[in-house]
Symmetry: C2
Subunit: 315 residues, 2 copies
């Protein structure tokens, strides 16, 4: 793989899109960033990364305010919120070279199913789960606190292609940029695995206005995190996804070792942006219930968050 001849488009260049796009650009890939509110700042000052693992990185980047101005991209990484997919679909299609690979770097279930009908038949769709502590500090400025791995899986695309090879190629892009990346044989399983983290921490950060360190330090909130994780594992199993033995305990340990972290849903709530409740809560609950499995704590958390989200957006 020649980085310079691999053209990558970043759709939604917030914390996730900005971080991975910048790392890929730094590794020599031909990266093009589609921006909205941050376009002028990034056009003028480039992107800045303050990373606990990679140090300070500042790069002038190829920034666009319109997808129509972007060259056709072989890979498109979508780092925008899942709540915006309907609106982003035409821009993704516009920036896609024939046979392009679109990677949804989003949490939750059902995001590919939602986007797929809006893509062209020649386009491949993959999902990516990011295990990373990163947030946007200011326009074009990204703070990376810990971790970084991306797990990729294949969703759909034109027949006659080796999907495993495509996923491996995607993982190869990230690895070439110094990022840990695993090809997953089952995207659905990868998505359920990631939910084991997102369901407790994203929701409780909003509900209890608390970051990971205090949530792990208190015996009751820690017990609630664990009980929610167990429910997600149970929901996955009901949907045919048996997660690795001890996976929830593994995530608890990782989170305890992480620096104190405010999940992205907390930032969304504070900035009065809609929460990704559909993909992270409603769709998993729906699928589990359809399989005869009820997850009462997760449903209670979802109902509480739905109330808060509605009130927050109405304010």
């Amino acid at each position: 793989m020649n980085p310079r001849s691999t053209r990558i488009g970043i759709i939604g260049s917030g914390a996730i899109g900005g971080f991975y796009g910048l790392m890929l650009a730094r590794a020599g890939f031909d990266v093009h960033f589609l921006l909205r509110s941050e376009y002028l700042a990034v056009q003028e000052h480039g992107l800045t990364l303050d990373s606990a693992l990679h140090g300070q990185v500042k790069l002038a980047v190829q920034a666009y305010a319109s997808a129509a101005d972007m060259p056709p991209c072989d890979w498109l990484l979508v780092g925008a919120k899942a709540t915006n997919n309907a609106e982003l679909a035409p821009l993704i299609v516009q920036a896609a070279a024939p046979g392009a690979k679109v990677v949804l770097l989003q949490n939750g279930l059902g995001v590919e199913e939602q986007l797929r009908p809006a893509l062209r038949a020649d386009m491949h769709l993959l999902g990516g789960l990011c295990f990373i502590c990163v947030h946007r500090q200011a326009p074009g400025q990204i703070r990376h606190q810990a971790l970084g791995a991306v797990n990729l899986g294949y969703h759909s695309g034109p027949a006659g292609h080796d999907s495993a090879a495509l996923v491996e190629a995607g993982a190869g892009l990230f690895r070439a940029a110094g990022i840990d990346s695993q090809a997953m044989t089952d995207l659905d399983q990868a998505r359920w695995q990631k939910l084991v983290w997102n369901v407790p921490y994203n929701g409780l950060s909003v509900l209890l206005q608390a970051s990971t360190t205090p949530l792990m330090a208190d015996v009751d909130s820690r017990g609630l995190v664990q009980a929610l994780m167990d429910e997600v594992v149970e929901g996955a199993r009901a949907c045919g996804q048996v997660l690795p033995q001890g996976y929830a305990a593994h995530l608890l340990r990782i989170t305890e070792q992480m620096p104190d972290y405010w999940p992205s849903m907390y930032h969304d709530h504070v900035h009065q942006r809609p929460l990704e409740l559909q993909a992270i809560y409603a769709e998993p609950l729906r699928r589990a219930a359809a399989a005869g499995c009820h997850l009462p704590r997760m449903q209670a958390l979802y109902q509480a968050l739905a109330f808060l989200d509605r009130r927050n957006l109405a304010a």
Copy 2:
């Protein structure tokens, strides 16, 4: 019953103690109020009630800063928080005439069991469940928005007494003061019944910073209230208390017809007072679990509140 010859002591004269004590005093009973922080204000200005049902009531009352100064009382109504019972027990004993009847006007389970060992053997202990929307507006000033009924049940006392007659006599006091009051044959059942209201509304008012009207207006929070009610009914049944058919639906209707109301737990949280989590959540959960019944939503709510309460008191 001659009101003037029935001496009633009010221990903890906040919203609940103040309201019922004032109504009894207005009806001619010989009522003595033990106060702490509000003593000077009440001593000087008396008690003021602004009631949607009973109008404006202002009375000079017999106020005390110390239980040692109170005359021996035949009835003692305890309106203080259940979190203070250990500390209140010696004051209750001090103000009790021989054979006194102590009525705990508190929510939750296990409050009588906690207080009983600190009382004298000649004293009777009853529990009272107040269905009322009332709060303290300022020292000595009580605002009564709706309802008012008290359900009484017998807990324990010296042998050789007709406990049903004692409970009926207690209900008679309240009725003589124009307050609806029912004698319950089973205090435990009365306490479980009241929990069907307290568990959802008290906790969610703190967790979601929301009063009853918005909680009932939103489809998700209403669904959560209902699911929590159903769990309490299930816990009661596991503990041998079959609540009246349709009781939860009845409380939902009543709450929808009430004026917008902030439960007392919300006020406790805002004023950084400890929440009554032990009596309202921990003890019912413990009893249900001992009967093999797990109430996951209620437990999740308890864990979330325990986290918030601890953080609030540490702040």
